[in-house]
Amino acid sequence: MDFFIQQFVNGITLGGVYALVALGYTMVYGIIQLINFAHGEFFAAGGYVGVILLSFLAAHGIMDTHPWLGLGIALLLTMGYCAMLAMAVEKIAYKPLRQSSRLAVLLSALGMSIFLQNGLMLTQGVYDKAYPIGFTAGGWDFGNVRISLMQVLILGLTAILLVALNALVFRTNIGKAMRATAQDKVMSALVGIDSNRIIALTFAIGAALAAAAGILVGLYYGSVRYDMGFVPGIKAFAAAVLGGVGNITGAMLGGFIIGMVEIMAAAYIPHGGEYKDVFAFIILIAVLYFMPTGIMGENVDDTRV
């Protein structure tokens, strides 16, 4: 039983990370029907900006005296930076192609992903960059189950960000404008919504969430590398599809399911550790076979963001 609970905690932590990254995919898809393949790179960029900021703060002793304040500052700045990066990417690579075929935008997204990844490699080097992780070493033991401070932090922060995102989309005027734009760009423009601004904002929010995931993963695992965005990007994409692309709750759920399947496969299936990625995608294929629009997807594409 302890074994199962421990694996459950592991799964939900990994799932939280996937969920945060998946939200950006789903929001962008919801609003302009684009699978933004460069999204994983915002996650990686977040990890890197995070390590640079935290190392700077650590060098000035702030991580020793006020670790949580330091982490908060780094988190906000990282999210802000990646939000701006995403708006720039949108302006350069996607906006000029808004009237073009979907394939053109998709290729542009793939190109952007390669460009950003190589940019990271050339500016930051091919080696791992280490996070200052001393202050995150704590944890609690419940019998044989150990829950580390980082696991609590990842889940707590994921929960806060998810609640905040939901409030933004369903309780504010900006959220209303986003939903309206997703439903019908032309009509919402006619009633005075600046759809270009709303689209840019959607990119910014999605990237900020991915950036938060990047910095959390950096702290959790202790280091980041330039190509760290690729695999979580693919997993989060799968999570978004699993949940029903365009659906926020679905993306969260999809993220947690993919994370959980991965961990449980590694834990209980013989040689599962080698094939855990396969199991995650088997689940994806099975769900899509029986529910082509994903778990939470609607048949008609209206209530999206």
Binding site: G134, A137, N144, R146, M150, G222, S223, I263, E274
Partner: protein
Amino acid sequence: MRRILATITTVALLLCAGTATAKTLKIGSLSPLTGPYAADGNDIANGTRAAIAVMQAEGGIPGYDKIELFAEDTACDPRQAVAAANKLINEGVVGAVGAYCSSATIPASEALAEEDIIMITPASTSPKVTERGLPYMFRICGRDDDQGPAGVKFMKEFLKAKTVFIVDDKTTYSQGLATEVANNADKNGIKVVAHDHVNQGDKDFSAVLTKVKQANPDAFYISLQNSSSGALMMIQAKRMGIKAAFIGQDAVYHPQLMEIAKDAAEGAYLTFGYTDKATPEYKKFYNAYKKISGEPGAYSAYSYDSAYVLLTAIKQAGSTDAEKVKAEIMKLNLKGASKQLKFKENGDSGSDYVIFKVQGGKFVPFWNPSTGKTM
């Protein structure tokens, strides 16, 4: 008109004569310069550079004005390794240092062997590297069947371990070594509670580490082909509260391990070839290396020795003919930067694995399997 032609011909002849005397000795290096193993791969290329610099400072090789290195990237990929080897063949190299992953070294060495080009590996530990009977294949580092038993001996005699949990990442190298450890543990009365696998490039090891925690073994053998994967595993294992003694191997042995894992690496044991850093040979290597790339990495001294052996043999043979150079290599018995360099009939140079312990952020020589004593 005739005069102009004559002048041009004369100048052209002079130029040809000029290039004919400026002879360049071309040697190659094969290692992963990009991708997850780039850290070790660049150390190998730089170690070779250091050997060339030292050889040139010592007067170079008679008949050659210059020694040039062609450093090719294998990316630890069999196909790319063969492509890189073919590139070296086209460049006309007389010998190559490399590669890094056994899975890349083996196919690359087949390509080089067809052209009778000498290959000396500083880092590939699979027994298959030298056991295929290729005439021009040599190895500076030890072998899996030396390293595995060294680790097992340490677990049995020093740690008095009764149980061991083994994890590898399914590469030719890591799996070969892990299997070697598993077989030896069995023979020595240490129970292998599990031999699990992860994927290369995995970052989340929580599932397998939970299994380790549940099994509660005396020793936890980490066979991963990457120091950063090793660091990630140590961080997560410490956080999870795993109390088993960590034992890793040469691919995890890299200064980057401590940089990333920090406190989590403290107390971990690693098997690696012993190098006496107080010898003048090591200092000569260290000073040359420092000028090129800062602090040496795990395989820097091995790759330096590989290139130094190759160049010394060419110098002594007075020829680049593979058979003559090989004869000189077999005659060598010289003090290298990493160890005494003397080759056996099959191309191996023997093992000198000892157990290192991470203490205060440093790899400290700790236990010698041949004497069974702490160092």
